[in-house]
Symmetry: C2
Subunit: 345 residues, 2 copies
């Protein structure tokens, strides 16, 4: 670990935090040091970074004094408080919480879509919501060719989006149900094993959940397309990793499934799995642990002439969170959009 | 069992067949005798009907000679062959397969929607596809007030729709996955435990599956609304019983969520579960084993002025299959639309 950047991870013991570490190593991110932070509760724990065991420290005001890149995934409250502190001392903050996403001063970035927005950062770049990231990766290449007017989407979101406790809850509840027992929910309002919950994040006045509203607002901001009409239904499903989405798209002009497949096959970050003859289509179980956004079931919308329907699946912890954040950091570095206040290279 | 009808069940050992028996008893259907039929493979097995143990016989050409009401749920091939034979000797066939649904001579009935169509039967009445039934029960009361122009729906369908073998497959696979083992799929093309499969029934040229196409065609036929534009994405989810649907509806004129709630609260067969403040919404785990179509998450469509979005859940074995078929029989009897060729009353 030399000849590189001083990296901090805030929320290092969480699912996304752990994936940050894994991906930094897998992609040989240029690090000269790594600093792990977490809440009071997790501080003191030791975490492996490759062969090295590193102690997790409690996040504090001086945690970022020599940091170049700070990856945050410890919830909105932590981000609201510490991201400006880190940015002020010169770190580039990439924040996975919802705290800064809709702030007009903060770029909200999916590199495949709006990498140029990174340039405008003032120290904080927001990482979008997981469901939004995979959808815009799949839709933006089509939108560039044939502007999208409306999107309606229904999601099938895995429990890892909620965190480790939810993964454990699904595991535990599934065992209890299979043994014929009764489940007492803790993490979710109701049983999630062998059940579905159309409730992700809090409910808003409109009857939409905040998760659904994020998909509307964030998609428009990332794609620079304020006029796209969007509606979403977000549903938690008993799947461990990877989110899936049934997406109905209305274009300005007609687009054939063949054209969409041709465009998407050349687009970055996308793999097409679409051959009904051999039951080939994206599945969350197979997407888990991989980097791509998988697109399949591409067909003309039987209810709308200029419409397409598709099925989009991606690992919500990787492309939906940790990977996208690290890709932002990589692009910022490669294009020299990181300030080197700490002159640490 | 006297002072009633001679009832035959074809496919008596299957999930829907077993539910037929349960519901006939629960609703005190006027039976003077019950005759259980199944395939070669299941013939000879004994099945309880209340306190009585009855032997299942192999379905044959003379199985319906003294039958008044024949409930079929043994697949399309059996229905194609035996339903006309049963109808010819005077039985009223209510067929749960897809064999006769789109036949113009055969009524396709959901009693809450088009009970009058029963009258036109010539011996066979078709029971619609499970996903279609619960959707039209929820949509028709709104359509009557404010004609629907377009429906886009994403389904979350339980494995019981496939049958007993699929329920056992989900159970077995879930255990294997929880123990860290690898799954070999048998019933489905891929693993269903903790996974999602956007493939129900066979794929068509259009890229839609037959299940998706059924939702389009059957909805139009049942609602007598040939011009409604419909698109569906049907997905198998790791849930045992009850199908769920995220439904986007475009009306002719504006309809507020309050108006929709008011209309649906007075409509037959529907229960509204819709209070975000206490996380109240329909869930398949709770709908299983009950009769109603549950509707919740009713909200204005953020992407379409005259649109509504809702979440519709119902037990696919009961209202989606056995219950609806028996309700058809009851209506036919109550309105004296059953021929009594056998004079068995």
């Amino acid at each position: 670990m030399n000849n590189g950047y001083h990296v901090a991870i805030v929320g290092a013991t969480g699912m996304v935090g752990q994936e940050f570490i894994k991906i930094l190593l897998q992609r040989r991110f240029p690090m000269s040091s790594i600093h792990l932070y977490a809440s009071d509760r997790s501080a003191g724990r030791k975490v492996f970074v490759g062969q090295h065991e590193i102690q997790v420290k409690q996040t504090a005001s001086d945690s970022f004094d020599n940091i170049d890149v700070a990856l945050f995934s410890a919830g909105s409250e932590i981000s609201k408080h510490f991201a400006p502190i880190a940015a002020k001392v010169g770190a580039l903050v990439i924040d996975n919480s919802a705290a800064w996403r809709m702030d007009t001063r903060v770029p909200l970035v999916v590199p495949e879509v709006n990498v140029e927005d990174i340039k405008k950062h003032r120290g904080i770049i927001a990482n979008p919501n997981c469901s939004t990231i995979q959808m815009v990766v799949a839709l933006y290449p089509l939108h560039k060719v044939n502007p999208i007017k409306r999107i309606t989407v229904a999601t099938y979101q895995s429990v890892s989006g909620t965190g480790l406790a939810a993964v454990e809850e699904l595991t535990k509840q599934a065992k209890i149900v299979l043994e014929g027992g009764n489940v007492v929910p803790h993490v979710y309002a109701h049983q999630i094993a062998f059940n579905l919950l159309p409730e992700i994040d809090v409910f808003l006045e409109s009857g939409y959940t905040k998760e659904e509203w994020k998909m509307i607002e964030e998609t428009r901001k990332i794609m620079h397309a304020e006029s796209i009409a969007i509606s979403a239904t977000c549903v938690r499903v008993p799947v461990f990793i990877a989110h899936s989405e049934a997406v109905h798209i209305e274009f300005t002009d007609y687009m054939s499934p063949e054209e969409a497949r041709s465009i998407l096959s050349k687009a970055p970050g996308i793999k097409i799995l679409d051959d009904p003859n051999v039951s080939l289509y994206p599945q969350p179980w197979l997407a888990a642990g991989t980097d791509d956004v998988y697109v399949g079931r591409i067909r003309s919308d039987a209810s709308y002439l200029n419409g397409l329907v598709m099925w989009v699946v991606s690992d919500n912890i990787r492309k939906g969170a940790a990977l996208n954040a690290i890709q932002i950091a990589e692009e910022a570095i490669n294009r020299d959009w990181v300030k080197h206040v700490n002159d640490s290279k």
